[in-house]
């Protein structure tokens, strides 16, 4: 086989391979959508983070605005310290409310941010003070059962 035809075939092969990789990166993966170019860190302390994981999404009004970058345990206050990387395009007021929510009934857990009305905004390294922990299903059920039991049989 002559050399030019061979080169043509190999070039064609490499081009298809790279096209397949691009397809995997852009159409199948989320390289185009969720890469935040610049982020700034915020911290939030929770009593209980439930099943929150590193790299989980941070959403505000349902839109992904950042990712969970780190989860630590604070041995002094016995709280979980969650570090959030927020897209630098978005600023949140000082009294923003952070809560751990679940998408769907059994979906993954994410951090929801509800903006407050403060004039000042959170800056790099600030701590979100107002937080709400994850809802633990077992606690909820036991609370419900306890309430039912304490109502007593006579109040039917």
């Amino acid at each position: 086989m002559n050399r030019k035809l061979l080169d043509l075939w190999v070039g064609f092969f490499v081009a298809i391979g790279i096209a397949a990789l691009l397809f995997l990166a852009l159409k199948v993966g989320n390289l185009s959508a969720s890469n935040f170019l610049e982020t700034y860190p915020l911290a939030a302390k929770f009593d209980n983070i439930g099943g929150l994981k590193v790299r989980g999404p941070v959403k505000s009004a349902g839109v992904v605005v950042g990712r969970v970058s780190d989860i630590r345990f604070d041995p002094k206050t016995y709280e979980a310290v969650v570090t959030l990387s927020i897209d630098a395009r978005y600023q949140f007021p000082k009294d923003t409310f952070a809560s751990i929510l679940t998408s769907g009934l059994l979906g993954e857990q994410y951090v929801g941010l509800d903006a407050g009305g403060d004039e000042r905004v959170l800056k790099t390294g600030d701590v979100i003070v107002k937080t709400q922990s994850a809802v633990v299903l077992e606690k909820l059920i036991s609370q419900f059962m306890f309430n039912k039991a304490s109502e007593g049989p006579d109040k039917k």
Binding site: M1, R3, L6, D7, W9, V10, F12, F13, V14, I16, G17, I18, A19, A20, L21, F23, L24, A25, K27, V28, G29, N30, L31, A33, K53, R55
Partner: protein, 264 residues
């Protein structure tokens, strides 16, 4: 009686010795291969020719099997997922299983049997017909001229083939899921994009296929170069290439998976 026991132990030791010696030779062979690679890259056309033989000629089998694997994944995945009322997650299932595992592994197995075996046969026959010795006599280094281009040709082709396999499989899953069964197209792609991560899933798959490419190519050229130069020896070397490559791919896949996807 005692003599037979001594003989048995001696035979065992002999075998272990042989295996160790072969392993040592394989390591020395790899070092020589890398050392002479620079020399073979100066005549890049040799490597391009091998990319043609191991990559371009494997295109058809890779694309067709990728399509069929995707079709089967689509059918089986739908069958299970619709029981739990989450058939929209079909895209996620197909894409994750292909990019993480099936793409690199199955493409690697096909590559080993399609391209690896032919490389072994070629080098083994060259050795059996004393072409390698003749080259040595003419002061042409057979490792630089014959072995290194075949090795690098395989290493270059393998990740590209695995990516094509995955892409084709996802297309197959799309064909079954969306076109034939009627899963919602928007949910199929958007859920896939939401849960397939470029670095964590796609890039790790590419790294896997690259490692498999190195393993398969090395085994193929080594078995050919080390084969017993007879008809039977060459046929045994080809069998060993396919068997050892398959074992190496599956074992390496376990090791790599446990590093890449632990606890996530």
């Amino acid at each position: 009686m005692a003599k037979r026991i001594v003989e048995a132990i001696a035979g065992l030791g002999h075998q272990v010795n042989d295996k160790l010696q072969r392993l040592g030779f394989a390591a020395r062979f790899l070092v020589m291969l890398l050392f002479y690679s620079g020399q073979s890259f100066r005549r890049i056309h040799l490597t391009i020719r091998e990319v043609y033989f191991s990559g371009v000629l494997s295109l058809l089998i890779i694309l067709v099997s990728g399509l069929f694997v995707g079709l089967v994944l689509g059918l089986q995945g739908y069958e299970t997922l619709q029981r739990y009322g989450s058939s929209e997650a079909l895209g996620v299932l197909v894409a994750l299983s292909l990019t993480r595992e099936l793409g690199p592994v199955v493409a690697g197995l096909l590559f080993a049997s399609r391209a690896g075996s032919s490389v072994t046969a070629e080098i083994g026959l060259m050795k059996a017909t004393e072409q390698l010795t003749a080259m040595d006599m003419m002061a042409v280094n057979p490792i630089a001229r014959i072995v290194a281009p075949r090795f690098w040709g395989g290493v270059i082709s393998m990740p590209l083939l695995a990516a094509m396999f995955s892409a084709m499989g996802i297309f197959g899953g799309y064909l079954i899921g969306v076109v034939f069964i009627g899963v919602d197209e928007g949910a199929f792609w958007s859920q896939m994009q939401a849960s397939v991560d470029f670095h964590h899933d796609v890039l790790n798959g590419v790294i896997k296929s690259f490692v498999f490419g190195i393993a398969v190519s090395l085994i193929a050229v080594f078995e050919g170069y080390d084969s017993v130069p007879t008809a039977e020896g060459v046929s045994r070397a080809i069998t060993r290439t396919v068997v050892n490559s398959a074992l190496a791919i599956l074992a390496l896949d376990f090791v790599l998976t446990s590093f890449m996807f632990r606890g996530l």
